[in-house]
Amino acid sequence: MPHYDQVPLSQALLQSGLSDGTPDLPFDEPIAFINIRPEALAAETRIRFDESHDDLDAVKLAVLRLDGFAELTLLSHTGAPTQGTEVWVREPDTRRSRALLDALCVALSIDESLITWTADANWLAERRRLSLSTAKPRPTSREIDRRWRGEPQVMRVVGELARSLAHQFSVLLAMIDRLLGRTRTPP
């Protein structure tokens, strides 16, 4: 059975939304619609849906990484007339999309009959052509980590340590000043 991991998303980026033009998540093209609401999908799996928004509506989303596949996004627009969960990928590619969908169904134990829409192969080919004709450079994985998932853990730890040391140093200076009976004017 294919294994999947959920990719954590930072609160800052969830709050800023999915429409700011920063290219870094698998949100290029919807390839399928699963007739299951995200709440039901979350109840059946260990997936946690986060809340955010794009320029159409509020959304619930979860980014997954499937073994052997690129990341994908499960997304639901909260005001959509037909409620369910869309599957989004980074690059429209008919063959890979089909394989990814099959793997997703197995990984999440989704009956294929619940997939009520899949993107037309001709359209995916046209979308790919449109993407290539207007392509901007894609970000590196390091840039993606920095922008979307926040600073790497090691950088956060170093930052916390530096802030803590600076604070302790200023407390120490204040104590020395007090012992020496000096007053320090703020810079």
Partner: protein
């Protein structure tokens, strides 16, 4: 909801305080253009809407357009992607000409 008004489909966008405020609705009505931006990873901008009339009692706008929507989208959604006939590219925005038929906002 059939999503049609005569022979031309109608679409709607629900009100929200970020991208579909009353001021946005007024701009769309005045300019007769609807704008869309790329998603974070969407390298090609597109206009997005729901298919069908604005639900009864909901706040938002209802519109029609002569520009054909993308041919393959999730149920009851409509996208107009830059590069398709009639979809204008303007910087990071996609723009389509629209005719607004309903603007309905509930104010507290």
């Amino acid at each position: 909801m059939t999503g049609s008004q005569g022979h031309r489909p109608v679409y709607h966008r629900l009100a929200n305080n970020r991208t579909q405020t009353f001021a946005d609705a007024a701009k769309v009505a005045l300019s007769a253009e609807l704008w869309g931006r790329p998603r974070r990873n969407g390298l090609v901008p597109r206009v997005k809407a729901y298919l069908g009339p604005l639900p009864s009692g909901a706040s938002g706008i209802e519109f029609s357009t002569e520009v054909a929507a993308d041919p393959s989208t999730p149920p009851k959604t409509a996208y107009w992607t830059v590069g398709r006939p009639g979809v204008r590219s303007d910087g990071e925005f996609a723009k389509i000409p629209v005719r607004i038929s309903v603007v309905h906002y509930n104010f507290p």
